[in-house]
């Protein structure tokens, strides 16, 4: 009933804290080693900073992001996340533009990226193992295969949204355990295998399943070298490691993805639970990632793995007319199961590993739905978009706003129109700008919203008299600004550049500028329209003065 510091009575909503382990699972899936991680590692083949130190150092910076988000949740829990935090501290216009671009518009570009991973991690390997070689290669190699995969992905996401988070949260937990089992098997296979066995297995399986030519191992090495594959596993100059970070954050910048859902924070203990749910996921991912990378190096051979990636992307990005000798994306789990010729074992492992994709992909539009609804409640979008279709319990209009543009962007990406495939890192840049908005709000919070900050459980955390949230904010803001400068003012501005999305890529700049202009136009348009109807949008986020 009570202790000496607080008496609580019976009242609605007084619940105990959620499990840190559950929070860990969702954050662990958000920085998804198998989907996001392996996908971006493979594209980094030409960089010179060691992958392991890049992973470790970037994650150290991202720990400050975790502090910021855990702190903002402690100050304003269950409030709607970035949109509300930024709106309250920086103003409604800034909050709207940064939230809709980072949590909605840019997700249109994530759809073909998720789809590219779906075909490489799930569809192509499974079809190949089942003996459907032609179908496997159609999905894995052709533009229409990618576009059809994007349509499949959108159907799946629509089902997820219609079924609701209550159902999907359960799916995610199942996928976590199944995916971890698959990962364990892959790591054990790689640690107990040998380079010789792998080479033999590759020759046997790649030719049988995917129609590779005999001698695929050596041909891959040669194609990779021709592509300029150099990425070291460890080492690299500190400058090269920092230059690799704008790539790797495509994968590990997201431990806070589901964080805005976290509930009531009653004290420092809950703040620490939020922090550890996300931080443990980040640290755990780094540890598992390093083990996997060393396991890859042990049996597949780091040199082969990097060259295979170089050979694959060099052709996929159109830098050579010569298709990669290995006709499919060099997916480490697929390469691991080449150590056996037992199709049942191969299938079981790949299916288990595919759970990493299924347990993660459902959240693609989760935040978009929330932002669309929040904007509609603030009357910055039509009321209709927040409607739930009664029969299917689906936000039909919000889905249209997410799915239709995604189909268009997926088409552009699949057929590489306007060089859309070069825009991969735009997906990260735009969200990083949104995070920068929240980070600036976090830095200023103790000074601009003193009462709010002082009434929160994080008010006691100070270092040398400076609020922890401000200090963490300054460090993380510096990191984000470094990333933004690198992305935009690419150190190798001569085409194609290091990241390919900077000032040298006009399509990238037009695409991103288009996102922000659209957001600003919606904000100003609705603000004007509502004013004419008698609603002062400016007042929505203003604090009522107490006389």
């Amino acid at each position: 009933m009570s202790d000496t510091s607080l008496f609580i009575r019976k009242a609605t909503g007084l619940v105990r804290s959620w499990s840190v382990f559950d929070a860990f699972i969702y954050a662990f899936f958000s920085i998804n080693l198998i989907t996001l991680g392996l996908y971006i590692f493979s594209q980094m083949y030409y960089l010179q900073g060691g992958l392991v130190p890049t992973l470790v150092i970037s994650s150290l910076f991202i720990l400050f992001e975790v502090i910021i988000y855990a702190a903002m949740i402690a100050v304003m829990p269950r409030s709607g996340g970035d949109y509300v935090w930024q709106s309250r501290v920086l103003g409604g216009g800034v909050g709207f533009v940064l939230a809709v671009t980072g949590w909605w518009f840019i997700l249109w570009l994530w759809v073909p990226l998720y789809s590219d991973m779906l075909r490489h991690i799930v569809i192509t390997p499974i079809l190949g193992i089942l003996g459907a070689q032609e179908a496997a290669l159609w999905f894995g190699q052709t533009n229409i295969g990618l576009f059809v995969t994007a349509l499949i992905m959108l159907v799946l996401v629509t089902i997820y949204i219609a079924a609701g988070m209550k159902w999907y949260a359960r799916v995610q937990k199942f996928c976590f355990w199944g995916g971890m089992l698959g990962m364990l098997v892959v790591i054990v296979m790689l640690l107990t295998g040998s380079p010789e066995a792998f080479k033999a297995g590759l020759e046997t399986n790649a030719t049988a399943l995917f129609g590779a030519q005999p001698g695929v191992y050596d041909a891959t090495l040669a194609a990779g070298q021709a592509a300029g594959a150099t990425l070291p596993l460890t080492g690299g100059a500190i400058g090269a490691i920092f230059l690799a970070m704008p790539f790797i954050v495509f994968f590990n910048l997201w431990p806070n993805w589901g964080a805005t859902l976290y509930g009531e924070v009653r004290g420092a203990t809950d703040f620490k639970r939020n922090f550890w749910g996300m931080a443990a996921a980040l640290i755990g991912t780094v540890v598992v990632g390093i083990i996997l990378l060393y396991a890859i190096a042990h049996t597949i051979g780091w040199n082969f793995y990097v060259n295979a990636n170089g050979a694959y992307w060099n052709f996929a990005w159109g830098y050579t007319d010569q298709p990669a000798p290995l006709p499919v994306w060099p997916y480490p789990a697929l390469l691991a199961v080449f150590l056996t010729t037992n199709r049942v074992i191969q299938l079981i492992v790949i299916v288990l590993m595919s759970l990493w994709w299924f347990g993660w992909s459902g959240t693609v539009f989760l935040s978009s739905t929330r932002v669309i609804f929040a904007a509609a409640f603030d009357r910055l979008l039509p009321e209709k978009v927040a409607e739930i279709e009664p029969r299917t319990r689906t936000p039909l209009y919000a889905l249209v706003l997410m799915v239709v543009p995604s189909i268009i962007v997926s088409y552009l990406f699949a057929y590489n129109l306007f060089n859309f495939r070069s825009l991969t890192l735009d997906s990260t840049l735009v969200i990083a700008v949104t995070y920068l908005g929240t980070t600036i709000a976090a830095i200023l919070l103790p000074y601009l919203k003193k009462d709010l900050y002082n009434a929160s459980p994080i008010a006691k955390y100070k270092i040398l008299g400076i609020p922890l949230i401000t200090l963490a904010g300054v460090i993380f803001a510096a990191f984000l600004l470094f990333l933004l400068v690198e992305w935009i003012f690419d150190p190798f501005l001569n085409a194609p550049g290091l990241y390919g999305i900077g000032l040298q890529n006009k399509n990238s700049i037009y695409f991103m500028a288009g996102n922000y202009i659209l957001a600003l136009a919606i904000y100003l348009g609705f603000k004007y329209y509502r004013k004419r109807s008698g609603i002062d949008i400016e007042k929505v986020h203003k604090e009522i003065p107490v006389e």
Partner: protein, 313 residues
């Protein structure tokens, strides 16, 4: 036409109550409606350490208060968060720790004392302004609260009543809810709720132009999504799993009568608006612990809503 400002679930937060009373002037509203759950959920003991010094623990932070100024500042902070500050000696604290009945009585005493202060504040700010204020205590509010509101000249208790807001619009109100896992004061079965609403609805001249000010939101309206709990009252799946917990009786009443507007609360994280047929249902949500007054500003038209917006004051 009448403009109403609606807020709910302030749960003892001094700052939210004061913002609510000042909201009419700020948003240029004609009527203020409070949807229930006015009382706080916790008492923070401020323990006498002797020599004019006190000790308190707020949000797991310990504060040693050496001066009366510091102690008063702490009282203000506790009240802003919606908790009741209570100065006491070590002996009384030990006694309270041994006696749930005495803690219950203390909660009632502090809730009523705060309510009296709130009514006095409302009178000070709004007497003679013509601003009307309506309140219907919610399921978390003790029954004794009603008497305090009844005594107010400015705030009108509207539980179970039909109120004429203007010549076109009437309002029915109830703070009762369906059963919750916390067994609070004003809970009953869905059938009993339906009967409660029916008594009021039958008195309405024109239900289609009425406002249903009912604390609990309609079932499956998207305004009633709360974290699914396990048997230990712990949110499942880190709070990712939400489920509808609203009232089927409220939903049925709205579906049948199709009033102009439904004003709801109860589920703090259920902020939003949705339509059930032609009825616009609103739950502004609650962020009382942060001292933020979430609300809804609605301009009523004849047979329609002229416009509305959710606010974060």
């Amino acid at each position: 036409m009448t403009t109403i400002f609606f807020a709910t679930d302030v749960h003892g937060s001094d700052i939210c109550w004061k913002k609510f009373i000042n909201a009419g002037k700020f948003y240029e509203a004609d009527v203020l409606i409070l949807g229930g759950d006015m009382t706080g959920k916790a008492i923070v003991p401020i323990i006498d350490q002797g020599g004019g010094r006190y000790r308190a623990v707020l949000l797991e932070q310990e504060f040693l208060l050496d001066t009366e100024v510091e102690t008063e500042e702490m009282v203000k902070r506790i009240k802003s968060r919606g908790y009741y500050p209570y100065r006491l000696a070590q002996d009384e604290l030990a006694e309270l720790n041994q006696s749930p009945d005495k803690v219950h009585d203390l909660f009632l005493q502090e809730a009523l004392k705060t309510a009296e202060q709130w009514m006095a504040y409302a009178a000070e700010k709004l007497s003679g302004t013509g601003m009307r204020v309506y309140a219907a205590p919610g399921n978390d509010d003790q029954f004794e609260l009603d008497a305090v509101i009844r005594k107010s000249d400015v705030v009108t208790l509207v539980e179970g009543q039909v109120i004429e807001l203007d010549k076109d619009h009437e309002m029915i109100s109830s703070g009762w809810s369906n059963h919750t896992p916390w067994h609070t004061y004003r809970e009953e079965t869905e059938d009993q709720l339906a009967a409660r609403y029916e008594v009021m609805i039958t008195q309405l001249k024109n239900p289609k132009n009425a406002i249903f000010n009912i604390h609990v939101p309609p079932y499956a309206s998207n305004l009633d999504e709360a974290p699914e709990l396990d048997e230990n009252m712990r949110p499942k799946y880190a709070g990712n799993s939400l489920k509808p917990v609203g009232s089927t009786a409220v939903r049925a009443a709205i579906e049948k009568s199709q009033p102009l507007l439904g004003l709801h609360g109860h589920i703090h994280e259920g902020r939003g608006s949705s339509r059930i047929g032609r009825t616009l249902c609103i739950n502004p949500g609650s962020m009382y612990e942060q001292g933020t007054l979430l609300g809804a500003l609605v301009k009523l038209g004849r047979e329609k809503i002229e416009h509305y917006v959710l606010t974060q004051g």
